[in-house]
Symmetry: C2
Subunit: 346 residues, 2 copies
Amino acid sequence: MADKRTPSADPRRAPNIEDVARLAGVSTATVSRSLNSSGRVREATRKIVETAARELGYTPNFGGQALASNRTNTVGAIIPTMENAIFARAIQALQETLAEHKVTLLVATSQYRPDREEAQIRTLLARGVDGVVLIGNRRAPSAYALLNARGIPFVLLWSAPANSPFVTIGFDNFGAAHDLTTRILEKGHRRIGMISGLTADNDRAFDRVQGVSQALADHGLSLSPHDLVECRYSLKAGENAAMQLLGATQRPTAIICGNDVLAAGALRAARASGLTVPDDMSVIGFDDIELATAVFPPLATVRVPHRRMGVAAGEHLLRWMVQGERPPSLTLPTEFVERASLGVAK
Amino acid sequence: MADKRTPSADPRRAPNIEDVARLAGVSTATVSRSLNSSGRVREATRKIVETAARELGYTPNFGGQALASNRTNTVGAIIPTMENAIFARAIQALQETLAEHKVTLLVATSQYRPDREEAQIRTLLARGVDGVVLIGNRRAPSAYALLNARGIPFVLLWSAPANSPFVTIGFDNFGAAHDLTTRILEKGHRRIGMISGLTADNDRAFDRVQGVSQALADHGLSLSPHDLVECRYSLKAGENAAMQLLGATQRPTAIICGNDVLAAGALRAARASGLTVPDDMSVIGFDDIELATAVFPPLATVRVPHRRMGVAAGEHLLRWMVQGERPPSLTLPTEFVERASLGVAK
């Protein structure tokens, strides 16, 4: 053979899938499945493959096809808000994944308003984007019609509804909320309050409330209307909602919050009321954003797969945009993170 | 006269500048100056005018000119990051201001990387935008050349350099840091440490370090190299940097942080080290984002005019895009916010 160097001997050659397979000690098919986030690989294997790929600087090239010149090399994402950095880490990962393929991500925010989101979908399509990323799955048929009429690849993040006609990359909000509620019940809590985001136009918030309700029902309890306060996602709104729950005759021993921002507000309300968390009351968040460990005590919460959603959204979209092949939906696991804000009920 | 109704009698008629002037009890010229954020109006007057305008639902129509049909009705903003929501409130206000005129804001993030920002400027111009918003004023001439070659209106937020050839809408980072340091010195602190963001590609971070250094020099003190730690803007990085400062033989009695995220990390380091803030050590932030009051104790910090920067950027750009008239630069005031994380030196 003319060239006897091992593949890794030439640092200028771009690493390929065989290099990754060799370093990770797996087959190229496993590398492919691992990096496609297609969910059919054991977590430990996926981690080894990802580490090997990162070490080598390998990025999948989608069958060697480059993005065609009639593409704009732009993807548009519409997120509800940039405040509180709820969507920041996923959008960050999405952007990095797209940037590896020289695709630019443009982001618009809808303020949780369906009419504004639909107008922004129109704008993105008019400006020319090769793909679209939206949050959640419940929206007017007219919004989906817009996307389908143009045949633009689009993926929906943050939820994982069964039998969706669309490509969703998310997690089970109902299941995660059900699980966290069960763990709170296991700590002996029986008087449980909930502060939720506004559920009207937010399927994730709605599903979380349903998950909490169902877990309570499974234990012969219920979430009565005055145990549940809905408000917008802000620290101040969370604080006010918690003050309302704390003012009840029978104040809750645990407050489940629809996200970490509301939970940080609830911690502030507890402090203002002279209550110690978790001795007098437990507070539980959702998301595991950086705020969860910036506050004191740090928040027990649900770890949402922010980064993996963003990476998978980027990879799914790129494959769809380049190969014209509609990717499958993907449901990612969440994890309950126990921290000091959750204690045993008195 | 055919129509004797007072202007405010017909709720369907759009309110005009005279309506606002009447309600606010000022001249129409004052309304115009107030809403143009041109800085030549007393703060109290501006507030009255803004309240009146909001109450009436008045939005300036820029001389009655609508956005021309050859425009894309899109503005692009490139911000360093969406993490930590540092830029979120200004971008939110910018978007709301543009949305009132049916202009959509698309946002890209550069990860504080000048090369990526320049690529994104290219993409935005290629996609077609009527205006561009960038953060900071120091960048390669090639980036400015791109914008100038296309004659696209653009404004630079977050800094206010003297004699800039560009339109800047920001505040005095040096002055704000100088002022906050002086206040810390007034509390008797003499051993002062600083945790800064990476100054290499960030003029705001650089100016803040200079402001702190100058204030110390004014008092015969200095910021020696081992009193200053640079790191990226994250909670963990701030915590690690603070641990480093706390490990010094002479640990500081006050740590000035380049932003609130770093300060939240410093609070965590203090707690991990068994130090009570502010009794054992003071921690001071910069920005006054929501995080500043989510942590405990709440952070003394510099209130940055997030919303006003965003609104002014939108109004300046709209006027420039519609009337073709280059607006003046604008320097907005900052305010030191004293909170419990700053105490008297022991």
